[in-house]
């Protein structure tokens, strides 16, 4: 019986001119474009400079700032209003003011002032921009001092601070995003499509015809699950290939681990979709419920911003988000080569979700109204 039901699902899928193409195109689009756009890195900060001093030292400072690689000199002016206008219009992000007497005070009194103003509508960008700029200015002072003190003998007590970046030494953003985007894709395809499935048959009336046959609820739900399970594996494999070819990214751990976890995760998220589908009366309704949950899931999963940086209540909430565990698994296996034994908590959580949602899907399916 199950065999025929699954055969029917695949026939329905194939007859649809749009779905199969989408199952291939969607991962391609997401994995090719999103990693290019999803980048929190702060660089190319447009800097406006007001130099009232016009001295050798102020010139050197400007030279140092503009050659640092973080800043693009968007303009030099003497007029504060002009500079502010430029920030207002988003032509520049930050403003460095060097007051007159800068060189004289620095040489005679060993102390001079500068002022930095940054557009902080995007708080992170504003803060990072000012801290980069401050660091460059401090560096500039240190150079000045070491030039002045080069006659000094003896060793200055010092500690060398060495930052090192494990797993992603060049800090490439795609390395971070691509594995997590695979989870998002699985969720969209293996979650959304089942959510539209039962409700779609309800709306068309074809579900009635199945309901009058002796098919058991369990068998029916299984027949709905298995196709998405298979589709999920196809999508995942496609993702692996794209990651390898486009981003030369292959997992440090084993692909098998990922497939095992994915098989549990897909069952869970498809089960969730089926639950929604059982409760929904129209396609539109099911879709919006799904949309609602998936947006919440994605934002709380740590895909974009680390869970540990969220408010405490949001961190508790994220414990109930299946995506969170799967994203941890993919990032850990891809980047750190984690093995099964490192991921037992995630396995437990994902299995729990899969059991819970599918049991619910079976129980909430009603053959008669």
């Amino acid at each position: 019986m199950l065999k025929y039901l699954i055969e029917k699902e695949f026939k329905q899928l194939r007859r649809n001119s749009f779905l199969p193409r989408m199952i291939i195109m969607f991962p391609l689009m997401i994995l090719l474009f999103i990693p290019l756009a999803a980048n929190f890195e702060v660089k190319n900060i447009n800097l406006e400079i007001i130099d009232h001093d016009h001295s050798r030292l102020s010139g050197q400072l400007i030279q140092k700032v503009s050659s640092s690689g973080y800043f693009i000199l968007s303009g030099m002016t003497e007029n504060y209003d002009v500079a502010m206008k430029s920030i207002e219009m988003d032509r520049s992000d930050a403003l460095l003011v060097i007051p007159s007497g800068f060189e004289r005070k620095l040489l005679r009194e060993h102390s001079a002032d500068v002022n930095i103003s940054a557009n902080a509508v995007n708080g992170t960008k504003g803060a990072l921009g000012t801290s980069y700029l401050s660091a460059i200015i401090l560096d500039f002072t240190a150079e000045l001092n070491s030039l002045g003190n080069n006659s000094g003998t003896g060793i200055i007590p010092s500690v060398e601070i060495l930052p090192r970046y494990r797993f992603n030494p060049y800090l490439r953003y795609p390395v971070f995003m691509v594995p997590a985007l695979m989870v998002m894709l699985l969720t969209m395809i293996c979650g959304f499509l089942p959510a539209l499935n039962i409700v779609g048959e309800k709306e068309k009336g074809t579900l009635e015809q199945i309901n009058v046959t002796p098919v058991k609820r369990f068998t029916l739900i299984l027949s709905k699950l298995i196709p998405y399970w298979i589709i999920g594996f196809v999508v995942l494999t496609l993702c692996f290939i794209i990651a390898r070819v486009v981003y030369s990214l292959s997992p440090a751990g084993s692909l098998l681990t990922i497939y095992v976890f994915a098989s549990v995760f897909i069952l869970g998220i498809s089960g969730f979709g089926l639950v929604i589908s059982n409760y929904g009366k129209t396609l539109q309704q099911a879709m919006f419920m799904m949309f609602f949950f998936i947006i919440t899931f994605i934002f709380l999963s740590g895909l974009y911003t680390p869970v540990s940086s969220m408010e405490q209540w949001a961190q508790y909430f994220s414990l109930f988000v299946p995506l969170r565990y799967m994203i941890e698994v993919l990032r850990q296996v891809y980047l750190k080569g984690s093995q099964f034994s490192d991921l037992l908590i995630q396995l437990l959580a994902l299995s729990g979700f899969a059991l819970f949602f599918n049991a619910w899907a079976i129980l909430s399916y009603r053959k008669s109204e």
Binding site: I34, E41, T141, Q284, M289
Partner: protein, 371 residues
Amino acid sequence: MKQFIAFIKKEFHHIFRDTWTMIILLILPVLMLILFGYALSTEVKNVRVAIYDPSKDSLSEEIVRRLESSEYFTLSKILDSPFQIEEEFRRGDTGLIVLFSDNFYSSILRGEAQIQLMADGSDPNSAVTATNYASAIIARVLSDRLPAGQNSTATSSRINITTNLIYNPEMKSSYNFVPGVMGMVIMLICAMMTSISIAREKESGTMEILLVSPMKPLLIILSKAVPYFVLSCINLLTILLFAVFLLEVPIAGSMAALLTVSLIYIFVSLSIGLLISSVASSQVMALLLSGMALMMPAMYLSGMMFPIENMPLALQWFAQIIPAKWYIVAAKNIMIKGLGFSSILRELAVLSVMALVLITVSLKRFKLRLE
């Protein structure tokens, strides 16, 4: 006109009858606002730190204490040997490992002491921020505790830096996100909902019935758009109320300018919805089209989450044709920067042209289909 109003009433009934969709339509904006305002923060804090400190002298312990008491870090583990580093990263969510060199304090005077900050670079943003914070804290401890160099006479110069974060001195991430959520939600309700509700009538065959009624086809389509227009206006107001009173995001500039640009943007979104429904023959197709061709780019390329200027040039160009991008810039200028009409002339012009082009194209396409 009477007929038109009757049709609009019918559409309202359609929406109100479906309680769940109604609730979601009204709650979704608020939910997104709360998620963006509280859950999503590009700030990095509570990074879990593990320490390897073989010498455990007073200075290294002072550094550990100061790291621990900062809000950015949580001390998670003391390692006994450097061989545990790999395992620590692989198993847990340790973000940073601080490794002191042997005989830390005594080697300082010879200038040989080292602190390695080994960060989990898989998340580049967190890794860089964590190492920056840690370096700053360590530098402060060192400058407090170490003599300023035996040989340094008082000749070292200083540049005093005063910084000032304009528009958002407290660096609230909601200042950045709220205009983005507005752009998103309006697009969602207007474009997605309209396109699907028209596709639904086509799919179920009821469109045929509507079309044989004495109403002009154009008015039938418009009557379907009106309820979503009203819903969007309600959503716009809820978002603004929640933003101002819950998230304390100001509307510093001209309210009239904000409403004008919002209305134009709602028109743009509605016409996109009409365009999609003229192409899509089924609800699923309308959903996927509006999901893929509309929501995805609007989410990623509008500058709502990720800065556009970081993207490759081709994507930056592509971002220019996304209406949400222009709307978000305008909303930020008015709400956060407190500017007036004159600051958003360009955005108003671009959105108006988009509205005109889109509505012309979509109505043309509709006529063709209705032959």
